[in-house]
Each structure stands twice: as C-alpha cells, then as structure tokens.
Amino acid sequence: MIEAILILLVCQLFGEALARGLGLPVPGPVLGMALLFTALQVRARLRPDAPGVETLPLGAVAAFLLANLSLLFVPAGAGIMSHAATLAEHGAGLIVALVLSTAVTLAVTALVFVKVAGLGRRGDAP
C-alpha cells in the first residue's frame, strides 16, 4: 500500500521536475502519467507472465482514486462563489459561451472520432 502510494508520488515528482527543468507546457502529473505508463509497458514486455497491475496494491490504490475522482474537484469548485461578482457582471455571455461551447465540443469531438474510425474500418475491407 505504502509502496503503491510512493510509486504514484515519485512519478508525479519526476514529472514536475521534468516539466519545470525543461520548461515544458505540460503539467507534472501528466508527464508522471506518461512515465508510469511507460514503466508498466516495459514491465509487461520484460515479464509477460507477471501478474497484471490490477492485482497489485498499485492497481487497488489507482482504482480507489479514480472511483472517487469527482471528490477531488470539490475543493476547487467551492471557490466559484468567490467570483460571483465577475460572473454576475458578465453572466449572460459567460454562461452562453460555456454551455454552447461545451455542447459543440462534445458533438464535434465524438462525431469526428466516429467518422474517422469508420473510414479506417472501411479502408481495411477489401
């Protein structure tokens, strides 16, 4: 359990160090994710018979964190109230922009994904 938490923290630490050291626009935790992913892929290559990561404590800790991902946004969310004044002043424009932009982005992203995936499949067929 401790080792599993340590693995996550060390990956994040290396990610932060890389991002800051090289001045990359990517946040440390995202680089940390890439590092851990690479390590897991290498482990699976080197030891194909090793037990899957989901059976290890690391898998259990990750599953616990991701199952409660919503909780982790609550502290930042409670800060919205401190911007009530700005939100009230530009409220209409901001709300319309957020709602429409989110809806259009969802639709465009999903449609492009499905269309391009469909093209690939048709291309494979003889």
Binding site: L65, L69, A76, A78, M81, L106, V112, F113, A117
Partner: protein, 238 residues
C-alpha cells in the same frame, strides 16, 4: 465566551472541520447520485459544491480558510492523474488501434472548444482579460490556470470557469450522445475528456471503463495541445 463559541473558534482555526465537511458533502452527494441511478443531472460535484458554498456563506468563512482544510483532498488530483496510467496500460491494445481517430478528434475538439468559447464571449462584448481567462476552460485546472496567467487572464477565475465547464460537460454528455445515437464508448469517453477534462472523465468512469480510459487520454492530450494552441490563437485578439 460560551462553550459553543469557544468550540467554533477552535474548529474554525484547524483544517479538521472543512476537511471533514468536504468529505461529508461529497459522501451525501454521491449517495444521492447513486440513489438516482447516476442520472446525469444529479452530479455529485455540483451538489457537493453547492452544499459547501452554502455552508461557507452561512458561516461567513473565507475561501482561504476553507482551502486550508480542503487542500488535502485537492492535493490528490496529482496522484490521481498519474494513476490514469493504469487503465491506459490495461486498455492499451484498444487505444493503439484507435490512434488515428484519437488524433483527429483531439485536433477538431480542442480547436472547437477554444474558438467557440472565445468567439461567443467576444460577441457578448467580454473584455480581453475575461477572454484570456475563458480560452483554456476545457482543460484540467492546473494547465488552464498556467495558460490563463501567461496570457494576462485571471487564473483563479479560470479555475472557476474550468470547474463549471467540467460539471456542464458531465451533465450534458450522456443525454447528448444518446440523442445523437452514438454508441461507441471510445468516442463518448474521448468527447467527455476533451470538452470537460477530469470532471467529464469522472463521469465517463461512472458509465463505462473504456469510456473512462478514453476520457483520461483525452484529458492528458488536450491539456498538452491547448497549452500550445491557445497562446497562438489569442495573439490575434490582442
């Protein structure tokens, strides 16, 4: 001083109270969401944030005091982002086969998110500082705040817009995808991650593990690409 106010003075100065309240608000919100069979409108982040905002307002507690307690929960966002590597690794064969649609949807979605939000707010006459705060609203808070700061926006306002976008996306994604007749969980999850970052990803994991994995990939990739394209696009508006 009465015993009750002495207790309040002690509790208000320690992180214990607001850490406990954050977990309590979320535990109740999550129960409600479960009881509503994960109906998209009964969003646990929205309910918990509303309940906490009411508590902070009623007790006259400044956000900074609240955050001293809640920061322990907030901190876990970093390790949770790293933990996305595990579902990505497990589902890698599925992801690898979808690499072309992933890149195409990422480019289209990322541009749409920035241009539509900035364009609409600009049409409503929003000032530059507000547009710069709004532009990165679809990416995860840490990246969005960095982008906003670099452009002369207001990072803390950006955080508020990011969370609002996340909740909106998490509420809209399921009914919208059903209405559009899209049944591919890879596409649905990826859209949730591009449009509404981690809160969309949390919603996707509630619905389906493959959707959650694709949302997690979208969250990471969109953070990266938005950090690159927003400064270029916003240079036009200066």
């Amino acid at each position: 001083m009465s015993d009750a106010s002495r207790l309040w003075v002690y509790l208000a100065a320690s992180p214990l109270l607001w850490l406990a309240m954050t977990l309590l608000a979320y535990a109740i919100a999550d129960r409600l969401s479960l009881a509503a069979k994960r109906h998209p409108l009964v969003n646990p982040v929205l309910i918990a944030v509303a309940a906490l905002s009411a508590m902070l307002w009623a007790s006259g507690t400044p956000y900074a005091t609240y955050f001293e307690g809640a920061q322990f929960v907030h901190f876990l966002l970093g390790p949770a982002t790293v933990a996305l590597a595990i579902p990505l690794h497990r589902n890698w064969p599925v992801v690898r086969r979808a690499i072309v649609p992933i890149l195409a949807a990422l480019g289209a979605g990322s541009l749409t998110a920035v241009i539509s939000a900035v364009g609409i707010a600009w049409a409503f006459g929003a000032p530059y500082e507000l547009l710069a705060s709004l532009a990165p609203k679809s990416v995860t808070a840490a990246i969005a705040m960095g982008i906003s700061e670099g452009l002369g926006g207001n990072p803390s306002l950006t955080a508020a817009l990011v969370i609002t976008t996340g909740v909106l996306g998490a509420i809209m994604v399921t009914p919208m995808m059903n209405a559009m007749g899209l049944t591919d969980y890879r596409a649905r999850g990826f859209a949730a991650g591009v449009a509404s970052h981690g809160i969309g990803t949390a919603r996707a994991f509630q619905v389906d593990p493959v959707a959650g994995t694709f949302a997690g990939i979208a969250l990471g990739l969109n953070g990266l690409i938005t950090a690159l394209i927003v400064p270029a696009l916003m240079a036009w508006l200066r």
